[in-house]
Symmetry: C2
Subunit: 197 residues, 2 copies
Amino acid sequence: MRPYDERLDHLLAQAARVFAERGYHPTTMRDLAAASGMSLAGMYYYVKGKEELLFLVQERCFTRVLEGAGEAVARHRDPLDRLQAFIRHHVTFFAAHMAEMKVLSHEANALTGESRRRINAIKRRYVDLLEGLLRETAPVESASERSAAAYVLFGMMNWIYNWYDPAGALDPERLADLITRVFIGGFAEARTTVQGG
Amino acid sequence: MRPYDERLDHLLAQAARVFAERGYHPTTMRDLAAASGMSLAGMYYYVKGKEELLFLVQERCFTRVLEGAGEAVARHRDPLDRLQAFIRHHVTFFAAHMAEMKVLSHEANALTGESRRRINAIKRRYVDLLEGLLRETAPVESASERSAAAYVLFGMMNWIYNWYDPAGALDPERLADLITRVFIGGFAEARTTVQGG
DNA sequence: GTACGATTCGAACGATCGTTCGAAATCGGT
DNA sequence: ACCGATTTCGAACGATCGTTCGAATCGTAC
């Protein structure tokens, strides 16, 4: 079944690219047929429909992100190093897989029913991972503020697809450094000023 | 012509609400007719089509944001105060007009042709305003890093629509404080660490 | 009440969408 | 060379979309 898997991978890769370019809803199955080199009907041999295409793109990408983040974090013991490893992994992975990550970020509410639930379950685990890291670095903070801080960080990282060009002057490593320093530096600052007065 | 303007305002407000809920593309003109209380054909007396509806929602909202930011910034002389005023205005305006701002942030690429160009022109002025503030506070920084820092900040602020509940425990003022302190504290930190070594 | 512009809307149009179906083509084992 | 399973696809279907059109209704000045 190797050629089957390769064809499916190719279809999903092209779907991610076109979804990222034109958006999920405006993209037609005819667009995807042209991009993948398959016929319109031929795609339905590999996939149940358009929504499953989006689901598979998101699920495969998000699973890789979650696993990669876990491994990156596990390589460090110091809480700040673990947080930095999480940020660095997320940003560099984002820059290396812009199409899939844009689809994951921008089309978060395009799925419905069980597919949506499955993706949200992964998201829940991923957010929990980050909030756990924040708890390690700032154990006294309230849960709601920790959650807000997590989403503020996700905002910095996930907004990337709106402006960042991986082939531009700013390479992914420096972007990861910038975000890491802004958040870690600012997070410490925010805690002291908020708690101090 | 007062009743005409009121009807148009009402139509645009309902369109912003439904666009924010379901997304621009999945929303049908029949959805908007039901939400606004007009008939399907009746809406075309006020608007040329679906895309003009999106354009008017975005243009009116973005114009208010740009003008409000200019006024907020003009009230201060100290560069850090001006930057803080910009952030505070953006975040509180966002929280007070979630539907319109979500449509502005999330449907940035849904417009085409001249409409898209008009919105992008406003965006250009808004980004320039922030980059000017960053230049005031960090005059030695390179233009590309300043631009990246601006988009990192926009990421924190515009991602709000994905998680923030204005009726929840965290009120808009405290959210504005959090983002302001994270960015200003982290921005200073990032500059010193990047330039220092 | 009547005339006239402003406003509303039921009904329908053509276009395009996601999906399906049955047949054709291809492949791998014998 | 042959056969069954796997894979491909042209053609078409029903549904739904944005938009249009012409008539009906409304408000108002005379």
